[in-house]
């Protein structure tokens, strides 16, 4: 029994090390004094200072954050509607096709989506004179490909949702809309919440699709990082990675806490 427990813990430690050692290294190296990303020469906060003085990087981060907030919210609303329709709508012709179409963006190459999005925006610019490529077009593109993720999470939560709960609400006098608002939505809120967080994360680090639809003026954080890496990295990248990891970890803990509290 002892030996087996030790073995299990060993496996666990190995798994976690595999997953998180690179991240831990990045965090440690963000406090490095050296100019070189990979050589440790002593503790220092100078790259933290450098990053917070780096206007271009901060501006890119702020843009990415705003896009992520807007597109995650849009995707959560549309994905909720799509997931709900997929589970709850009575059988309609083409339902299977609709179901596949919703999740298609998950498997579609991003390059293809990027080109089609670009064509759409160029076309609409020609026809309607807008929208200008930048914040709005990036947010729309991110929303489009995040919907699938929210829809899937919502769909799987609704699939094992006890329909009797909704019937009970209606039986007690709640109209379908009130039933949705007071029973269904509160109970699937954790799923919508984790879908939102997923969409937020996807938007925050998307590079390929963004490059197609971003105009000349807008540079998101991944674009900025990517171009600066090509010019040669400095440890500011480590600092940036540390901040992003912290935000993601907070989001995860929050979503876990939300899920447990509602259940």
């Amino acid at each position: 029994m002892r030996g087996r427990a030790r073995f299990a813990f060993g496996m666990l430690a190995f798994g976690y090390a595999f997953l998180y050692l690179p991240i831990a290294l990045v965090i440690v190296y963000s406090f490095n004094e050296s100019r070189l990303v990979t050589v440790w020469s002593g503790f220092s906060l100078k790259w933290w200072h450098a990053l917070f003085a780096n206007e271009a990087m901060l501006e890119a981060a702020w843009l990415s954050l705003r896009i992520a907030l807007v597109s995650a919210t849009g995707a959560a609303l549309l994905g909720l509607a799509a997931g709900y329709a997929l589970v709850r709508a009575p059988r309609f012709p083409g339902r299977t096709l609709f179901g596949s179409l919703v999740v298609a963006p998950m498997v579609m190459p991003e390059v293809v989506m990027g080109i089609s999005m670009l064509l759409l925006f160029v076309g609409s610019e020609r026809l309607f004179g807008g929208p200008d490529r930048g914040f709005l077009t990036i947010a729309i593109a991110h929303t489009t490909f995040s919907i699938a993720f929210v829809a899937i999470v919502v769909q799987s939560r609704l699939a094992d949702f006890d329909r009797a709960l909704e019937e009970a609400a209606m039986d007690l006098g709640a109209t379908p809309w009130v039933t949705f608002r007071t029973i269904t939505l509160p109970l699937i809120a954790p799923a919508v919440g984790s879908g939102w967080l997923l969409a937020f994360t996807l938007s925050l680090d998307d590079l390929i699709l963004t490059q197609f639809v971003a105009g000349a003026q807008s540079q998101t954080l991944p674009m900025r990082v990517y171009s600066s890496v090509r010019l040669g990295v400095d440890p500011q990248i480590n600092v940036l990675a540390t901040i992003v990891v912290t935000i993601a970890a907070c989001a995860l803990i929050l979503s876990g806490w939300l899920t447990r509290r509602k259940a």
Partner: protein
């Protein structure tokens, strides 16, 4: 106030694809009844109940509740409440919020909701559990919350879908009495669906036995048990020996109406046989007796003395006897 039946159903039919779940059912239920829909799985009893609640729309026929045509009225506008088999308690609300949900939907003021919720919780002995979540309650407590939630709006009709099925045997028996007490105390009409004939017999004022979407027989428990209308009903309710009669037709004979003895009894009808199986149940014993005349018959004896359970053994030759009025003649 309308004095006609609280429920009137005319030719109600519901199909699911090629299956006719409920087939041209006519039914009237009077005020203050505790009416049971009894039948095996797939007999249409649940579909009929769901049509009363408004969750299923009939394909044909009309449905009147308190004289008003409710056939096409959605569930949230019917003066009817339902207690679900799974109880369907809202897991994100505490007991008081669950029970008050229906009152809140009707726009009742908060202080009145609180008063009525407290009153009904007291009635089901849950006044100390108002702040608990459903997950913190036992099975029996959840059942009572579900009942309170369905009763608090004082519906004209309370529908109960297998109300006791999820309880263990001991609790089921005490809850039966409790529910009959509540029904009488509140003077409401209950319509209950059950597959458990014992439950239907002991609680209902009247019951309908359903088979393949149709009502096979309606009557008081006594009528249905002692005067079954068909072989199906006789066989479904309790145990019945179905004996083919000379000159056509059948007779249903209940095991307790038959006398079992070692010597030929002085009764108008007698038949000789041999015991092939004994089931000792404590209060009574069931015997399977192989007879030449009627095949294997089931006989029961009440174990009124402590030695009675040992009186007959397997393979013992015995006599069965019964009076002329013991059996019910069946046409179908």
């Amino acid at each position: 106030m309308n004095s006609g039946p609280i429920v009137r159903i005319e030719g109600l039919t519901r199909r699911f694809g090629p299956i006719v779940a409920v087939d041209r059912v006519d039914l009237e239920i009077a005020r203050g009844e505790l009416f049971a829909l009894l039948g095996g799985s797939g007999c249409g009893k649940t579909t009929l109940l769901r049509m009363l609640a408004g969750f299923e729309t009939p394909d044909e026929g009309r449905l009147f509740i308190d004289g008003q045509d409710m056939t096409d009225v959605p569930p949230y506008r019917r003066p009817v409440n339902m207690m679900f088999q799974s109880y369907a308690l809202f897991p994100h609300m505490d007991v008081a919020a669950n029970v008050g949900y229906g009152l809140r939907r009707d726009g009742v003021k908060a202080p009145e909701i609180a008063a009525r919720v407290a009153e009904i919780l007291k009635l089901v002995h849950l006044q100390d559990h108002a702040r608990r979540k459903p997950s913190q309650l036992s099975g029996g407590q959840r059942q009572r919350v579900a009942l309170a939630r369905a009763l608090v709006k004082r519906p004209k009709l309370l529908l109960l879908d297998e109300p006791l099925a999820a309880l263990d045997r001991k609790l089921r028996e005490s809850t039966r009495f409790e529910m009959v007490r509540l029904q009488e105390q509140l003077g409401l009409t209950f319509v209950m669906v059950t597959h458990d004939q014992e439950e239907a017999m002991s609680m209902a004022t009247r019951l309908a036995v359903m088979d393949a979407g149709r009502i096979a027989q309606i009557g008081t428990p006594h009528e249905v048990y002692e005067h079954p209308a068909s072989r199906f009903v006789a066989d479904f309710i309790g145990i019945a020996n179905i004996i083919a009669l000379e000159g056509g037709g059948w007779m249903a004979l209940r095991p307790e109406k038959i006398t079992l003895s070692a010597a030929r009894p002085a009764l108008p009808q007698t038949v000789a046989g041999r015991i092939v199986d004994v089931a000792y149940e404590g209060d009574r014993s069931l015997y399977h007796v192989e007879t030449d005349a009627h095949g294997t018959m089931t006989v029961s004896t009440t174990n009124t003395s402590r030695a009675a359970g040992d009186a007959f053994a397997r393979d013992q030759p015995v006599w069965l006897g019964w009076s002329d009025e013991a059996g019910q003649r069946l046409e179908a």
